[in-house]
């Protein structure tokens, strides 16, 4: 089920009301059933895949906790391999086969392997990582195995974060399903505010600019550098609004029932370094990679060269996590390279001073520069192939000219409509932080009446100016 659908408009209040009407002992059942229903709106039979991974990791968790030494490690490895195998088959098998066939052709071999005719289950990478974090935490002794199969299933399947995160940790979630949550006006109000802001970002900003972005990337060959630059900047805003919008809706929906999900975005484009960017962008994934890959690989505890190699590996793997395509790997690797360069620059005092400065103007210039590097990465992320991404970047850097005011590729969009969308984006960029702070409760300065007016106005704006066609969230494909 999509958050931006009529079905969710009925589903959400129904689940919320039922949750507080039911006695605590039955709430998990209702939430689990609702989560199954939510997931089955996509491809119903794929719930069986989810069920298999749940059963494997549930049993593995119990056995890991009961065992010691080598046996304990074997259970962990078996669990990780079987969970990752599902991910491999559905997400990466065809990628490897395609590359195998291409390599065979290149080497003059006639051997060809067939692709699997399957669709990627929605959000598979997200719940796979959430399951993996459970078995690893049980293995490390940071979390006791969950004895209740229903509660464990809910930990993997909790509908707000089931298909696109935040990727939660068992320490943060499992105890919450055992707790009794009483109805609270504060939770309802702050949850709804977050949801409204999330919907605004998704259906008003991200979806409304998607057609401009699509046109710029689809017709990049005929467009001048101004349009390519506009398309790339707008994609940076689109992906931020799309994904952080989803996270806000998820966190807000959970909060209305008294659940606290982890923060996933914190004003990422204000980052003054790439390292800072990754502490603000998709926080639940970057901390996952930090805790379960980077630190076990040695993190920054070994030589500087090894630290840089670890960074490069982790970010390349992170890129591959996003999608079975070289463009994602390059995007991840590029960020790895950025971080290595930053590490090298730390040897210079001017860079150290820059990182610690409190000067607003220097920070602003720094954020603008970092944003340019992030946008270069987004071009690889969005382009259908690495060669197209390279060609687009080349056209931007060589300032390729164009004679038409509004290229044919964008002729379906009326100039007034285009201006309206760009004004909306500009207003959003100006107000995002202030409204986010109010929605998340970080800023309590606004009076109750002002908040009521602000969020009811935003709701009306969403209803009227939201894009209400069938548009999925970008991160669903991962």
């Amino acid at each position: 089920m999509l958050f931006n659908s009529i079905e969710f408009l009925i589903f959400f209040p129904t689940v919320l009301i039922l949750y507080f009407l039911l006695p605590h002992a039955y709430r998990w059942m209702m939430l689990l059933a609702a989560s199954c229903l939510f997931y089955m709106f996509f491809i119903p039979q794929y719930i069986l895949i989810l069920f298999i991974t749940i059963v494997i990791d549930y049993i593995a968790g119990i056995y890991i906790a009961r065992s010691q030494g080598r046996r304990k490690k074997i259970y962990l490895v078996v669990s990780i391999i079987s969970t990752c195998l599902v991910l491999f088959v559905f997400k990466y098998y065809n990628f490897f086969i395609d590359n195998f066939n291409t390599t065979a052709t290149f080497l003059g071999q006639e051997m060809r392997l067939n692709n699997l005719d399957i669709i990627l289950p929605i959000g598979l990478s997200f719940h796979t990582f959430q399951s993996l974090s459970y078995v690893v935490e049980v293995y490390r002794g940071n979390e006791k195995p969950e004895p209740h199969f229903g509660i464990y299933s809910l930990y993997v399947m909790f509908y707000p974060q089931l298909v696109a995160g935040p990727i939660e940790r068992p320490q943060n979630m499992l105890y919450q399903f055992h707790e009794k949550h009483s109805f609270s006006y504060g939770n309802l109000s702050s949850g709804l505010k977050l949801m409204v802001w999330g919907f605004f970002k998704k259906v008003v900003i991200a979806d409304n600019i998607s057609m401009i972005v699509d046109a710029c990337f689809a017709h990049h060959e005929t467009l001048g550098f101004k349009w390519l630059l506009l398309g790339s900047y707008l994609f940076a805003i689109q992906i931020y609004c799309d994904f952080s919008g989803y996270s806000d809706i998820a966190i807000g929906a959970a909060r209305t029932m008294g659940f606290k999900l982890m923060e996933n975005f914190r004003n990422p484009y204000a980052a003054t370094s790439i390292k800072e960017f990754w502490s603000r962008w998709h926080i639940s994934l970057s901390t996952w990679f930090r805790d379960y890959l980077y630190i076990p690989m040695g993190g920054n505890r070994k030589s500087p060269a090894r630290t840089n190699l670890n960074l490069f590996t982790v970010f390349s793997v992170s890129g591959f996590w996003h999608g079975a395509n070289w463009t994602f790997v390059i995007w991840g690797a590029l960020h790895g390279v950025y971080l290595i360069i930053e590490n090298l620059l730390k040897k210079f005092s001017w860079f150290q001073n820059y990182l610690t400065t409190e000067n607003r103007w220097i920070k602003l210039v720094g954020a603008i520069i970092v944003f340019q590097f992030v946008v270069v990465g987004w071009i690889f992320f969005r382009a259908p192939s690495a060669s197209i991404a390279v060609s687009m970047i080349g056209d931007i850097l060589t300032l390729r000219s164009q004679t038409e005011d509004l290229p044919k590729a964008l002729s379906g969009i009326h100039p007034i409509s285009l201006q309206f969308k760009l004004v909306l984006v500009a207003l959003f960029l100006l107000l995002d932080q202030r409204i986010s702070a109010i929605a998340t409760g970080r800023n309590g300065k606004l009076s109750l009446v002002a908040k009521l007016i602000l969020f009811t106005f935003l709701t009306a704006f969403i209803l009227l100016f939201g894009y209400w066609g069938d548009v999925e969230f970008i991160y669903f494909q991962f």
Partner: protein, 317 residues
């Protein structure tokens, strides 16, 4: 709990006020003879056009003996003047991208069928798929009946239709934002262009939307209840690659429905008599020359297939 309910009620009221305020402003401010909302929301349909003239014409010259319902294939494919020459008073109630959902609302609220009437239900392959938003919104915007607009706007629920309905409430219907230059009379539009080369292959229709099947059933129930007769017709199309493959299963569906309802289906989609592109204005529609030939063949076939359907019109003159 009481505080929560009071606050939710206050919030809902404020949302409604802001929403209607924004609709009112963007629906009454014009730029270049078009309301601002039409620029902001591409799915909002404009005032005027074929639907506006068709709805106005319908009430003016009743009663009709035969009525066509369907998409642009219908309103560009059945010329009331040719039927008039054969002593059949025909009204063309086709509208752009009309699917069975719209046909049902149109039949129920506007056409209101009566006994002795013959309905020609024009079906083409894509009538079973798509969301039908454009079709609904064009009629909502140009409707003069609140019940009809409400029906289209709220069933099934879709915010794009509700936004169109709200826009309609504030619209100034005397300002025509779009003209129908090729409108002739009684819902019919004529095209004079001629296709000069083979059209591009059209996309195969998507999977059948069960709602549209259900709505066709409702249309037939309404016609049965009124004692009206109906036949299914598919008008000729320039044959493109893949069409033969995807048309066959869809044809079977209509044939089965016709058989079940004890009526018949006249399918001219791949008719060899229209193999020449000069009969078509574009990849989808007949031009006037094509309509002349198609309507003559259709009237002849109707008379042959079920003479009692048309003979009664002649005897009632």
């Amino acid at each position: 709990m009481k505080t929560t309910l009071v606050r939710l009620a206050q919030a809902t009221l404020l949302v409604a006020v802001f929403y209607l305020g924004m609709v009112a402003i963007s629906s009454t401010v014009y730029s270049d003879n078009r309301r601002l909302i039409c620029y902001f929301l591409p799915y909002i349909q404009r005032v005027g056009g074929q639907e506006s003239l068709m709805l106005a014409d319908y009430s003016a010259a009743q009663p009709y003996e035969a009525i066509v319902i369907g998409s642009s294939h219908a309103y560009r494919g059945y010329d009331p003047r040719i039927f008039e020459a054969a002593n059949i008073r025909l009204f063309n109630a086709g509208s752009s991208s009309q699917n069975t959902l719209v046909s049902r609302a149109l039949t129920e609220h506007i056409l209101q069928p009566s006994a002795q009437q013959l309905y020609l239900i024009d079906v083409y392959d894509k009538v079973w798929s798509g969301d039908g938003i454009e079709s609904c919104n064009r009629l909502i915007q140009n409707s003069t009946s609140n019940a009809f607009s409400l029906d289209l706007a709220f069933y099934p629920l879709d915010l794009r239709k509700i936004n169109q309905y709200s826009t309609w409430l504030f619209s100034n219907t005397t300002v025509k934002e779009v003209q129908a230059k090729d409108y002739v009379l009684l819902g019919y539009c004529s095209q004079q262009d001629t296709l000069t080369e083979a059209p591009k292959a059209l996309d195969a229709p998507e999977t059948i939307n069960p709602l549209f099947e259900e709505q066709l059933e409702r249309v037939m129930e309404l016609l049965d209840a009124a004692g009206a007769s109906y036949v299914f017709v598919s008008h000729p199309q320039p044959v493109t690659q893949g069409m033969k493959t995807y048309h066959a299963p869809l044809k079977k569906i209509v044939e089965n429905i016709a058989k079940e309802k004890n009526t018949f289906y006249l399918d001219y989609t791949l008719d060899g008599r229209f193999a020449d592109y000069r009969y078509f204005a574009d990849a989808n529609h007949l031009n006037q020359q094509g309509v002349d030939l198609f309507n003559t063949i259709l009237i002849k076939d109707l008379k042959e297939k079920k003479p009692e359907l048309l003979d009664r019109f002649q005897t009632s003159q």
